[in-house]
Symmetry: C2
Subunit: 212 residues, 2 copies
DNA sequence: TAGATTGTTAATCGATTAACAATC
DNA sequence: TAGATTGTTAATCGATTAACAATC
């Protein structure tokens, strides 16, 4: 699908969700068309970069007119794979795991959380927005019954890699990791290590004016 | 402090917390020295890049020997500003806000959460690990009494920018934003927009093999 | 001393920006 | 048609990698 089959760079991939956010907002507020120049001002990028980015995936604009907001938004939705449905599970039903389960935005984009898993017997059995918290020992059984595309890891650091290994063993093909460690997986598994504390530490670094 | 006063690039800044994670781990497990080559294998970077990165901040190694793990770890801790103490507040005491308050790792690095703020009267008055949840209307009063360095925004999208404006008005100099919108602030305020859903959307993009 | 590994300069690579012909 | 704006090529800029002298 990508134009000329040329691999899309990491930098471009990271900008796509941002385009999607802005375009969805504009679409919702009834804006019909946008030029790369206008969009560049809104987003703090250059118009050149925006046109280059979009043209990694195809020509979505029209000379002399710009881009149709709704059309472009839909195209980027497809690029991000948000036109599909995904089954998701959350490993670790602490505050962060529960926060993911409670956030309705993921569902709206096709990410359906089917269950949370935890080791804590006080959590096992209860439900969050109708999503059950199950015993972590039942994970293999669950995965044999339900095709899970993405697993979010919200466990403490020490159990994260072990859980990832078990999940991959059962065929899970994508890991969204929130544990403060880089988890590893075979090449055919997509891994996204989020590392919230890393982003906090860049704040304290930047608060030191010497590096700005 | 940065060598030759040359501004440190975004890419280097983003890698510093990762170095810190690995070095802290090695220090804890009793490893005394490491060469850039060994570290490069552990971290999946090149040895060249590691030496270039460290030399943005100073010469921490020794020819023929490599780097002293403890010394290097401490230097990077200082670069990240983790040798200092920060007062933090969390705006929005939902699951995500509570998750931040419950995570002890931030405190260990000098980030002390002093209070959470929420609009929900059912939450106001209770405590998380001894940290009180206060009424959002008392934020200005609180900030006049307590110097707050960093505010984490865990509110819904629609109130995020408004809260940021109020906080900055009261002198808060850094914003750690989890609401799914890019919040804006004057140049002297450090802003880190986290956007958890963006990272999820890059997963679904990557699951489409055309872009890999 | 000989071997190892840094710090740093030079070369390469890739990403961003600029320019402009194509075209709506 | 004239004006506007894209898609795309070329130029620039910056980041990564390679190489090697310095030195422990």
């Amino acid at each position: 699908m990508s134009k000329e089959n040329k691999r899309v760079s990491e930098a471009v991939i990271r900008r796509m969700p941002k385009y999607y956010r802005y375009l969805k907002e504009m679409k919702a507020s009834g804006i019909k068309r946008i030029s790369s120049r206008e969009l560049s001002k809104k987003m703090g990028l250059t118009a050149s970069q925006i046109r280059q980015d979009f043209n990694c995936f195809g020509g979505f604009g029209q000379q002399g007119y710009g881009y149709n907001v709704e059309e472009l938004c839909d195209e980027i939705q497809k690029i991000l794979g948000l036109h599909k449905e995904y089954n998701m599970i959350v490993i670790g039903a602490g505050n962060l795991g529960q926060a993911l389960a409670n956030y309705s935005g993921f569902e709206q984009e096709g990410f359906n959380i089917k269950a949370l898993f935890d080791i804590n017997p006080r959590l096992v059995g209860i439900s969050i927005r109708g999503i059950p918290i199950l015993d972590i020992d039942h994970i293999e059984g669950f995965l044999s019954q339900c095709e899970v595309h993405i697993a979010a890891i919200c466990t403490p650091k020490k159990t994260a890699q072990e859980m990832v290994d078990r999940l991959i063993e059962c065929g899970v093909k994508a890991i969204w990791n929130f544990a403060p460690i880089d988890v590893n997986a075979p090449d055919d598994v997509v891994v996204e290590n989020v590392h919230l504390s890393d982003t906090l530490y860049t704040i304290s670094l930047r608060m030191n004016e010497d590096y700005n």
